[in-house]
Each structure stands twice: as structure tokens, then as C-alpha cells.
Amino acid sequence: MEEIRLMKGNEVIAEAAVRCGCDGYFGYPITPQSEILETLTMMRPWETTGMVVVQAESEVAAINMAYGGASCGKRVMVSSSSPGISLMCEGLSYLAGAELPCLVVNVSRGGPGLGTIQPSQADYFQAVKGGGHGDYHLIVLAPGSVQEMYDFVSWGFDLAFRYRNPVMILSDGVIGQMMEKVVLSAPKPRWSDEQIAEMWGSWAVTGKPASRTRNIVTSVELDPLRQERFNHKLTDKYRTICEREARCEMVGCDDADYVIVAYGSSARISQKVVELAAEDGLKVGLLRPITLYPFPEREIERLSHRVKGFLSVEMSMGQMIEDVKLASRCRVPVYHFGRTGGVIHTPTEVYEALKSNFLQK
């Protein structure tokens, strides 16, 4: 049954995994997301749903455990934070190359290097442009609240299996650590072996039954022409994903002169900026990408015909701004504002940046 609780973003990821029938979680402690593994070990789902929880010896091991679980058609999840996600990038490339479904949660922090443990959005390029090697993409979801942290786990698994592709929830230390009211959905059971065989029997490694030939999960190809053909197939898949799955939320964009583009916690901060601007009689809208890959290009392209400019607000030195420029075809000025390294911008700072870029030039 549905339930309402006050919970931390990280705790909610664990709760959502158990409630949506996740089969396995593999993690390694790293701030600011360790509560995910801690909450799961408090919940002891192996005694209730049978979900497996393993504390791995490294992020490298964790993502490869996920690769193993995903190979069996199981719903598997890993979580980490920025430096740990860097270590997982090899595995992400293999998951994409082997067309395996997997949910990856990045509660990101300041970088580069070991960086800081405070919130950051500087992993945008890594998440949406690759991170690992080769011609692949992750599907990237950007929750803007604790409720969305919960909802996107189930949505992420759906997308991962629909497209047989790893999905990343790109969150940050603000959303991971803050507490909000969250509506928890009724628990769904894990898939039975029979259901897995029926749904994913064409590729999942389950022990070869007499009824089919052997399944092989691999990303190796010795013939470059066949690899090229496969990469075209992957790209066709990504094209379909871009056509069907891009999501964004738009606030006050219909008659806006200027539009802030911001995701996750930066979008939360920018909501306040829209209010501050309205008090001054300025028409400022907010476009919040909910999916970062696919990027909501169509909406930005449409707005670019009539707004006077975009401000990309991100807790980074400016990464998503490149996609805003591409989507808007640079028809109007696109500026970036953001604090970085673990510093969170205030609404006032963002508003001042908006005014200085667009009104005082």
C-alpha cells in the first residue's frame, strides 16, 4: 500500500529499490551516498524479498557484479559518487556494449580528483557524453526532489529493460542528503525465474535450457565490419530513445524573455530566481531537463525563436551550456552561471548573474 514518510534522498533510493523488486545491489562506501548501502543493510531485504546486497571491495568490482547480475536478466543497481563513478566507467562501457540493463545512481560531489564531499554537478559530461570508451550513451535522469529520487528508480529500471541499456540517475549531494516528504508506492514482487525466462530468454544467461541454444553475453567482436554494424544498431536505439524519452518541466516559459535552464538542485534554486524576477517585473522562465540524455532539445529549439537569451545554471564551470547552445542553434545569447567545487549558488547570486548578463550589457 501507499505510504507517506519524511526521508533523505539517499535512503529513498534504497527504499525504492526494494519496493520495485530489485534483485541485487552492489556498492562501495563513498560520501555523500553511503546511506544507500547502509539503509539497505538495515532493511535486510534478503530476508523479505530475497534481494541480494553485497558490499564490494571496490567500485570496479561493484559495477562488474552488476554486469554479472544484469547478464542473468535480473534487476540490478549500483550507486556511488563522482570518483567512484569514474572507476565504474569501464564497466558502464561494457554494459552498454553487451546491451545490458542496469541502474546506476551517482550522488555527485565536487571534483576533479578526490575533490570535495560537497554537492556538485560537474559530472554532466561524464554522464551524458560517455565517461567510458566507445560509441555508447547512458540514459541519464536528473531528479529534482526526494520524491523524484524515489520515482526514478522504478522508471530507470523500466527504461533500462525497454532499451537494454544502462540508466544513470544523476543526482547530487543536495538531493541525496536533504529530507523531504515522499509518497512510497506499494511494493512490487521480484520477477520469478520463469518470468525472466519468458521476458528475457532471448539474451539472458540463466543456464541453457533444452528449449533454446546457448546465450552469450559479450561485447567483443573480432571483425571490424560487424562491430561497425553493431554500433549502427546501438545508434539507431539511441535515436529512438531521443525521439521518445526526452522529458523536461517548464515553468513560466510561455511568455518569458529569458529562460534559465537548470536541472536537479540547481533547478530548485532557480525556481526562487523566477519568483525574484517576477517581483521586479521581469519575465524569466525555468526549463528543467528531467532527462539529460536524451536532452530536451526540441523545447529549447522552440524557445530559441522567441526568447532573448538562455542562462545555463549548473554547479560546474559550464558543461550543460554546450547542449543548450547546440539545441538553441546559438540563435540568442547563452550564458553560464554556477558555483563549483562543492559550493552551492544562492538564488540571489543566480539572479544577479542573470541581470548582469542580459540587462547590463
Partner: protein
């Protein structure tokens, strides 16, 4: 004397290709141990009646295409990560026979961490470890297991302990871990050693199915191409040079 015709009947048949070996032409070089070890795996799985329960994890290295040759479900892992992949497969499918197949570069160099920790957790899987003291697929470079003085593409003057350290005796190290129930070192360079190796493999697989912990079966193996020897010379070199450093027999269990 005229050649005597012998009718082929089930009664006089003394040998056949294992049922679970496919008809794919193996890519292994003449004199390489991989083919014989593949054959043993196929035979043991069939004899245990585990064809429908077995899940193999192939490595990066010459063993990468094991899935083309043994007719069971397979996962091909990233370089060195097979033990982590196997951990999750077995935890999520406790009734399956899960084994990894890894060379000495894959397991004893890049995959050392995953190997040690899967062993230490006592995962109920079998690790099959092919130790031929060299990187085969990439063209004969030094492996952690390369013997002192052995010439390879990256030790053209021979392995020097001062610069490269010592031959890595992985099995002896893993035998110290509580999660490991069985460590054995076998070879397939003589008919007698093939028979002993097959028994060891069966024991390891049975341990895995009886949830006794991790079983580790090392095969001291030949790489005639990497060693730049004929198959016969490679078998002789294995006996004379490899076995004194890597003596055969059970190390634990």
C-alpha cells in the same frame, strides 16, 4: 595381409568428442593447453548432468572465445573482473554451477583484487586458472607468473627479479584465505596428468554445488607460440622449468 575391416559399433567405440564441445574450429595454436582444458570442462559438466545449470565466465585473453567452444550459457567479462561477475551470478542464482575461466594476465595481474576478494568472501564458484607464464593473446609479454630468466617480448634479456619481482604463486596465497575450500595445481601435459586434472575439476565443481566455498583449480599450461617452441618442446619445457616453480598437487582441501 589384407587390411581388416572393423565395423564401428557402440561396443568398440573407445573415444569421442565430448557432447558439449561445439564443432567450431578452435583458434588455439598447436600445442596450447587451452583446448585440452576446454575438453575436460565439457566432459565434466556433461558427466555431472549440469548442462542446463552451468554458467561460464570467460576472460580477456586467449580464453575469451570459450563461449564458441563449450555449449553452455556464457558471460564474457572485462579484463580481470570475472570473479566479481561470477560473484553476482552465483548469489542471484544459487542453484547454478558458476565458474570462471581466466589466464594468468587476467587473474594474477589486472584481476588480483577481484580474485582475492571473491576468494575471501568464500563465493560458491570455481575459478579455473590457466598459468602459462606469459601473455599469449597480446604477443608474448611478461606475466606476473613468468619464470626468472624467462625471455618474453617485454623481458628480452630474461626476467630479472630486481626489476620485475618474482613468479607469482597465486594458489599458495589464496590457500591462506578462510573462504577458499579447495586449491589444486594441475597440468595437462601428459595423459596421466589429464586424468588427474579431470578429477580435480569435478571435485571443484561439486564443492561449488555443495556451497562449500570457493574452489581454485590452477592449470600449469603451455604456450608454444609465446614460448617460441614446438608443441613437444613446450611440453618438455613445462615439465623441466615450470613444475619446479609451480609443483603439481593439492595445496588445500
Amino acid at each position: 595381409m589384407a587390411a581388416r575391416e572393423v565395423a564401428r559399433t557402440p561396443e568398440n567405440k573407445v573415444y569421442s568428442k565430448p557432447r558439449l564441445l561445439t564443432d567450431a574450429v578452435m583458434h588455439f595454436c598447436p600445442g596450447c593447453s587451452h583446448g585440452t582444458i576446454h575438453k575436460l570442462i565439457a566432459e565434466v559438466i556433461d558427466e555431472m548432468g549440469m548442462e542446463h545449470e552451468a554458467i561460464g565466465i570467460s576472460p580477456v585473453g586467449c580464453g575469451v572465445l570459450a563461449y564458441d567452444y563449450i555449449d553452455i550459457d556464457w558471460v564474457e567479462a572485462a579484463h580481470g573482473r570475472a570473479a566479481a561477475v561470477g560473484t553476482a551470478i552465483k548469489r542471484l542464482n544459487p542453484s547454478k554451477l558458476v565458474f570462471t575461466y581466466q589466464g594468468d594476465g587476467d587473474l594474477a595481474a589486472i584481476g588480483t583484487g577481484e580474485t582475492i576478494h571473491a576468494c575471501n568472501r568464500g563465493e560458491n564458484i570455481t575459478i579455473i586458472y590457466i598459468n602459462n607464464a606469459i601473455y599469449g593473446m597480446t604477443g608474448g609479454q611478461m606475466a606476473p607468473t613468468t619464470l626468472l630468466g624467462q625471455r618474453t617480448a617485454t623481458t628480452p634479456q630474461g626476467r630479472d627479479a630486481a626489476q620485475h619481482g618474482y613468479p607469482f604463486k597465486v594458489g599458495d596465497m589464496l590457500a591462506q584465505l578462510d573462504g577458499v575450500c579447495y586449491v589444486t595445481r594441475q597440468s595437462v601435459h601428459t595423459p596421466a596428468s589429464v586424468r588427474r586434472a579431470k578429477k580435480a575439476l569435478r571435485k571443484a565443481f561439486e564443492n561449488s554445488m555443495q556451497q562449500k566455498g570457493l574452489s581454485f583449480v590452477e592449470f600449469v599450461s603451455t604456450c608454444s607460440s609465446g614460448w617460441k617452441m614446438t608443441p613437444v618442446e613446450a611440453n618438455r619445457w613445462l615439465a623441466e622449468h615450470m613444475l619446479p616453480v609451480y609443483p603439481l598437487g593439492d595445496i588445500k582441501g
